[in-house]
């Protein structure tokens, strides 16, 4: 997918699904085992995973993410909302 397509097709559900897939990949868990309303820390997302995930987010959305701010958004849902604000 090109950068332009990524930007044009960004939607809440699309971004949330993409995030869930990335997090599931790093945690080596099935996607449907991650609840977007549950704190990511409870799944074992530590600072190293967080940095990797944020790096993927930056390349996916072509935006620089404030790491401290992103980490305050503890769930996939709140993180999705924050990222949508960033690219808006």
């Amino acid at each position: 997918m090109s950068e332009t397509e990524t930007m044009e097709t960004i939607s809440r559900s699309g971004l949330r699904t993409w995030l869930l897939e990335r997090i599931a990949f790093y945690l080596d868990k099935p996607v449907d085992s991650i609840d977007p309303t549950v704190e990511l820390a409870r799944y074992g997302v530590d600072s190293v995973y967080a940095i990797s995930i944020i790096s993927d987010i930056e390349d996916h959305l072509q935006v620089e993410v404030d790491v401290a701010e992103a980490r305050r958004r503890g769930t996939v849902d709140t993180l999705t909302d924050y990222l949508l604000e960033l690219v808006a």
Binding site: V48, S52, I54, S55, D56, E58, D59, Q62, V63, E64
Partner: protein
């Protein structure tokens, strides 16, 4: 200024200060230690080459400083001094964190404006193009690209600002070996002793030339 800045109290002969260094941890000399402790860095090596004893140099550099912090925290410390030479080495923290170009330009104008009004010749060191850290750490391609762009942008502001105030910008291509990872410390963001010595050699040449012109201008 009536009151000596806090960090310079106890320095009896401020009138004799000939060299002022402003900037970040690289200006401070990080990762180029004296055997006896403390940082030597290109600044210490410059002072040695100019045969300036410690009391004739003020290195006000603070690790992590952006150009905004140089103006807010370092300029007040040296404002009352009348050095012959001012060297600024700053910008990597700006490039990493992001900046507004107009703000950088205004801050640089304050630094160079002070140096000019103090009667100093001024030199600005460039932000190195590709610190090895950028290749080593977990960092998005997008962020890496933006940091590299900001390094270029900051150097463009240094180039513009020095020119506007009749000062010298050390072009990145006069220190090409800085691209060699063996000149960097393990952390990938600070020069090691070899790197500081290499940069110092170039700075010393430029400084001697600037100070020579200054003497010519004053006597001629």
């Amino acid at each position: 200024m009536d009151v000596a800045p806090a960090t310079l109290t106890g320095r009896p002969d401020l009138a004799g200060v000939e060299l002022v260094v402003l900037g970040d941890s690289v200006a401070e000399g990080r990762d180029d230690p004296y055997p006896s402790g403390g940082w030597r860095g290109w600044a210490g090596r410059l002072a040695e080459a100019l045969e300036l004893p410690a009391e004739r140099m003020v290195n006000a550099a603070i690790p992590g400083a952006t150009i905004a912090q140089v103006v807010a925290e370092q300029l007040p410390v040296v404002r009352s001094l009348r050095p012959r030479l001012m060297v600024l080495n700053c910008g990597m923290n700006d490039a990493i964190n992001g900046f507004e170009t107009a703000e950088v330009a205004a801050h640089l104008a304050e630094v160079f404006g002070w140096a000019r009004s103090a009667g100093a010749v001024g030199l600005a060191a460039p932000v190195p193009h590709a610190p090895p850290l950028l290749e080593r750490s977990i960092i998005s391609n997008f962020r890496r690209k933006r940091i590299l762009e900001r390094i270029q942008l900051f150097n463009a502001e240094l180039r513009r600002g020095t020119r506007a105030f009749g000062m010298e910008f050390m072009e990145p291509d006069v220190v090409p070996l800085v691209m060699d990872p063996s000149l960097w410390a393990i952390d990938g963001i600070h020069l090691n002793s070899v790197g500081h010595a290499y940069v110092a050699e170039v700075i010393i040449d430029i400084a001697r030339s600037l100070l020579g012109e200054q003497v010519t201008a004053q006597t001629g």
